[in-house]
C-alpha cells in the first residue's frame, strides 16, 4: 500500500524576522490600530469621515486630471480611468514591469449619503482627493432640550 507522503515546507532562514513580523501583526490586530483592509486592486483607497463630510483619497499616480473619472450617487462612489503603459519600442527591453497599467474601476460604498452637487476633487502628487459633504438628511441634528 502506498502511504501518502507529506512534505513539510523547508524552514525559512529568516525565522526570527518572521516571528517578529507575526507579533507585530498580532499586536495590530488586537490593538485595532487601523481599519486596514488588504485588497489588491488599483487604485488603493483610504477614507476619512467626520460629522460634516467624508474624504476619500486614492493613490493613482501618473495620470492626467482628465483621465480620471469619478461619479457619486447616493452613497455609492465610483473612480475609474486608464493608466497607459510606457511606450516600448521594438528593440527595447523591459527588465521590470511592476507598475499597474490598464483600465481600472473601483466602486465603494460610503458610510453615508452625500450631497453629490457639492463634491470637490483635487489631484496632487499622484493622490486623488475627493471631499464629499454629507447629505443634509444624514447630518446629526442638535436637539434642544426645553425646560418643561
Amino acid at each position: 500500500m502506498l502511504l501518502p507522503t507529506i512534505t513539510l515546507p523547508k524552514p525559512s532562514l529568516n525565522i526570527l524576522g518572521d516571528i517578529h513580523k507575526l507579533r507585530n501583526e498580532m499586536n495590530r490586530l488586537f490593538e485595532g490600530e487601523l481599519p486596514f483592509v488588504y485588497r489588491n486592486e488599483f487604485p488603493p483607497i483610504n477614507m476619512k469621515a467626520d460629522e460634516d463630510s467624508i474624504t476619500v483619497t486614492a493613490e493613482v499616480s501618473g495620470l492626467n486630471e482628465q483621465e480620471i473619472k469619478s461619479s457619486v450617487k447616493g452613497d455609492i462612489l465610483n473612480i475609474s480611468g486608464k493608466r497607459m503603459m510606457e511606450a516600448i519600442g521594438e528593440n527595447d527591453v523591459a527588465h521590470r514591469n511592476e507598475r499597474f497599467t490598464g483600465e481600472f474601476s473601483r466602486t465603494i460604498k460610503l458610510p453615508a449619503k452625500v450631497n453629490a452637487d457639492a463634491v470637490s476633487a483635487t489631484y496632487k502628487n499622484g493622490i486623488l482627493t475627493l471631499t464629499l459633504p454629507r447629505a443634509e438628511e444624514e447630518k446629526a441634528k442638535k436637539i434642544e432640550i426645553k425646560v418643561a
Binding site: 529568516n14 526570527l16 524576522g17 517578529h20 513580523k21 487601523l34 481599519p35 486596514f36 483592509v37 488588504y38 485588497r39 489588491n40 486592486e41 488599483f42 487604485p43 488603493p44 483607497i45 483610504n46 477614507m47 476619512k48 469621515a49 467626520d50 463630510s53 467624508i54 474624504t55 483619497t57 493613490e59 493613482v60 499616480s61 501618473g62 495620470l63 492626467n64 510606457e86 516600448i88 519600442g89 528593440n91 527595447d92 527591453v93 523591459a94 527588465h95 521590470r96 514591469n97 511592476e98 507598475r99 499597474f100 497599467t101 490598464g102 465603494i108 458610510p111 489631484y123 502628487n125 499622484g126 493622490i127 482627493t129
Partner: protein
C-alpha cells in the same frame, strides 16, 4: 484585473534593527526599460512632494528615497487600503552607465530616472566601404 501586486510592499526590517521614526518604509513598484541609448527607471511614489525626493549615486548603487507625509484631512480613518510612509529602493548599476549623466524628473507621483549608457557600450553601426 491585473495579477500584479498593487499593495505597496513594506521593506523588511532586520529584527536587530530599530527604526528611528515609526513610519513604515515602502519599496516602490518600478518599471525598468532599456533602449539603445539608456535605461529608464519609472517608480510610483504617490503622495511625495518633489522637494522631498533624494536620488543618490554612490559606489555603483543608485538609491532613491522619498518622504511622504501623512495627510492632514480632518476626520477619523474609517477605511484604509493603503498606508502612508516613506519610499526607498536601491539599484545596482554597472559601468555600462554614464553615471554623470543620470537625470531625474518627477510628475504626478511618478519618478522617472534616465540612465544613459556609456558611449563604449552603445551599439554602433559599422559602415561597409567598397574597395
Amino acid at each position: 484585473m491585473s495579477n500584479k501586486d498593487i499593495q505597496k510592499k513594506e521593506t523588511a526590517v532586520p529584527h536587530s534593527v530599530e527604526r528611528i521614526n515609526d513610519q513604515p518604509v515602502f519599496i516602490p513598484a518600478v518599471d525598468i526599460i532599456e533602449d539603445n541609448n539608456c535605461f529608464k527607471i519609472i517608480a510610483d511614489i504617490p503622495g511625495t512632494d518633489k522637494n522631498s525626493i533624494d536620488v543618490k549615486f554612490e559606489k555603483n548603487i543608485l538609491t532613491i528615497r522619498a518622504e511622504c507625509p501623512e495627510d492632514s484631512y480632518k476626520g477619523e480613518l474609517v477605511y484604509s487600503e493603503y498606508k502612508t510612509g516613506n519610499y526607498e529602493r536601491s539599484f545596482s548599476v554597472s559601468d555600462e552607465i554614464d553615471s554623470k549623466k543620470i537625470e531625474a524628473k518627477y510628475d504626478k507621483g511618478v519618478l522617472t530616472l534616465i540612465l544613459p549608457k556609456a558611449a563604449s557600450v552603445k551599439p554602433r553601426t559599422i559602415e561597409v566601404k567598397s574597395e
